[in-house]
């Protein structure tokens, strides 16, 4: 950026002026005389395009919750944004990465592909509900011992999918595990250690 570009500088100046005008405009709108009108107009404008909220009952980690939700809310967003259970991660939001994996009635699902309003009555377990008090789940311990992560973003989804993988009896060979864990992507590439951790936990379970 050693070459100074006068045109770019002009653009920046215009942008600054516009920005100032917008701030002034907002101040003017919220001036005391118009305050009541402005604040009543804003919600009604958004209500015209916002869908009717639905009353949703969710059972998460053994606790019942009742939430008024925009019907577009996915289970993942309900968990993270409304119940503040941020263990389940949003990677792609399209069911491709598996970072949002939770258990529903004991089976692994992608929480980004379910609407919260359509999973009423289901038993949902997130990564926060896996440990028994201070005692970690055997797969959580195995992930630590095997150093089965680098950045950690995919880890909650990997662990939830791994728990189900073991439970289903699909954790025999390393090849089996790789196939049955294919719905969970790790961009750091910690796959070898993830497979090793699942094998450890599966062996411990078999005794």
């Amino acid at each position: 950026m050693t070459n100074f570009d006068p045109e770019r500088r002009e653009l920046l100046k215009v942008g600054m002026v516009t920005g100032t005008a917008l701030v002034v405009g907002e101040l003017w709108l919220s001036a005391p005389a118009d305050a009541a009108q402005a604040s009543s107009a804003a919600p009604s404008r958004s209500a015209a395009s916002a869908p009717i909220p639905v009353d949703v009952r969710l059972r998460v980690n053994g606790r019942e919750h009742r939430l008024p939700l925009d019907p577009r809310t996915t289970l993942l967003d309900a968990l993270r944004e409304h119940l503040h259970l941020t263990g389940s991660k949003k990677g792609c939001g399209l069911g491709q990465c598996g970072a949002c994996t939770v258990l529903m009635d004991g089976k692994r699902v992608k929480s980004c592909l379910s609407l919260a309003a359509l999973v009423e009555g289901r038993d949902i377990t997130t990564i926060e509900g896996l440990a028994q008090g201070d005692e970690l789940h055997s797969l959580q311990v195995a992930f630590i011992e095997r150093d089965a992560f680098q950045c950690g973003y995919c880890t909650p989804g990997q662990i939830m999918a791994g728990v189900a993988c073991i439970e289903e009896g699909h954790a025999g060979s390393a090849q089996d595990i790789r196939g049955w864990m294919s719905g969970n992507v790790c961009r750091c590439g910690a796959y070898d250690n993830i497979v090793a951790a699942i094998q450890d936990a599966a062996r411990a379970k078999r005794g």
Binding site: S49, A50, P51, I52, V54, P71, R72, T74, G93, L94, G95, G98, T101, M104, K107, R108, V109, K110, C112, L113, S114, L115, A117, L118, A161, A164, C165, E168, H170, R178, G179, W180, M181, S182, G183, N184
Partner: protein, 332 residues
């Protein structure tokens, strides 16, 4: 997502009355069940319905097997069907096609009827950044024909659309002469799955023959000797969690070392699951010898037309047929 009103009707009658239109990309009301495809379409603004009608908890999810055949409730999950002992033993092509689809999580969520209703994976259909897509926006053109079309169909295409049908299990079901039971405002009807799907023609935004309100309630598969000796071979860019470039569902009824009857359907190459009766006919009375199979498989290419990047599929699908038949023929 475009704002929608979520309808959660109490029973099927109330559901039908809402006249949601499944399988049409211009419909103001859509059904949602497992949600694994619909949520993607909503998130990406590919579908912007004003109303979403939930089928959750309303449809049968039982899997029943008897001497006449197999009945799969519309709401049965892909995972439940894939692990059902009768399906595994008597209809292996169905179980295999399901296990080769999607990911374990999606198979736990997705329903069988929803699988049959999934939209194609054409990247231009799925990306609203491209204006031209006749399937998404009727009359807007086709970006795939002049774009990257490696994944696209070579059979059943039209000047409007070359998107390949995405379902694996639909290919297996078409090979086994499966039928879908439908329920609509006008009553019930049963259709061969092959007739349920429409070719794109000039109206690729209409994927099936479903009427407003009408929905799939069950899938019926007739029992047969061939179904017990069946196999699904899927060729794709990754070993798992990927859609087919080319796949074949084959079912054989053998008379010693000779083929008494063969059923062959192809995936990844057609705008709908693609049965190849001319290949089946040519296989009758033949052996499992490579040269013999090859002479029959070449007939699959009749009418096939590539769009450039997908030309390889015309040769590949013949090889996939040969390999799939040899694999299942070698089974006891």
């Amino acid at each position: 997502m475009h704002p929608f009103t979520l309808e959660r009707p109490r029973d099927v009658a109330a559901t039908l009355a809402l006249r949601a239109q499944a399988g049409r990309n211009d419909a103001p009301a859509e059904y949602i069940a497992g949600g694994t495809d619909m949520i993607q379409l909503l998130q990406e603004y590919v579908r912007r319905p004003d109303r979403l009608v939930s089928l959750v908890g309303l449809l049968d999810n039982r899997i029943e097997s008897g001497p006449q055949g197999l009945t799969i409730g519309a709401a049965a999950t892909m995972a439940d069907v894939a692990s059902h002992p009768a399906v595994v033993q008597q209809y292996p092509v169905i179980a295999e096609s399901l296990l080769e689809s999607a990911s374990p999580q999606v198979r736990n969520q997705a329903t069988m009827a929803g699988n049959l209703m999934q939209r194609p994976r054409c990247p231009y259909f799925r990306d609203v950044g491209y204006d031209a897509c006749n399937r998404r926006t009727p009359g807007s053109g086709c970006s795939a024909m002049i774009g990257v079309n490696r994944w696209h169909a070579v059979l059943g295409t039209s000047r409007s659309c070359i998107a390949a049908h995405a379902s694996d299990v639909a290919v297996a079901l078409v090979a086994l002469d499966a039928a879908v039971e439908l329920q609509g405002l006008g009553g019930r009807r049963t259709l061969p799955l092959d007739d349920f799907y429409r070719l794109p023609g000039d109206t690729p935004h209409i994927a099936t023959v479903l009427q407003p309100g009408e929905l799939i309630t069950a899938i019926r598969v007739p029992a047969s000797a061939a179904a017990r000796r069946s196999h699904y071979l899927k060729v794709r860019d990754r070993a798992s969690f990927e859609f087919a470039l080319v796949s074949a569902a084959v079912a054989l009824d053998m008379d010693g070392a000779r083929i008494r009857q063969a059923r062959v359907a192809l995936g990844g190459v057609g705008t709908k699951p693609w049965r190849v009766p001319q290949v089946e006919k040519a296989l009758v009375g033949g052996s499992l010898d490579s040269a013999v199979l090859r002479r029959a498989a070449v007939l699959a290419a009749q009418g096939a037309r590539g769009s450039g990047h997908n030309d390889f599929k015309i040769e590949l699908m013949q090889r996939v047929i040969v390999r799939a038949i040899q694999t299942v023929g070698a089974r006891a």
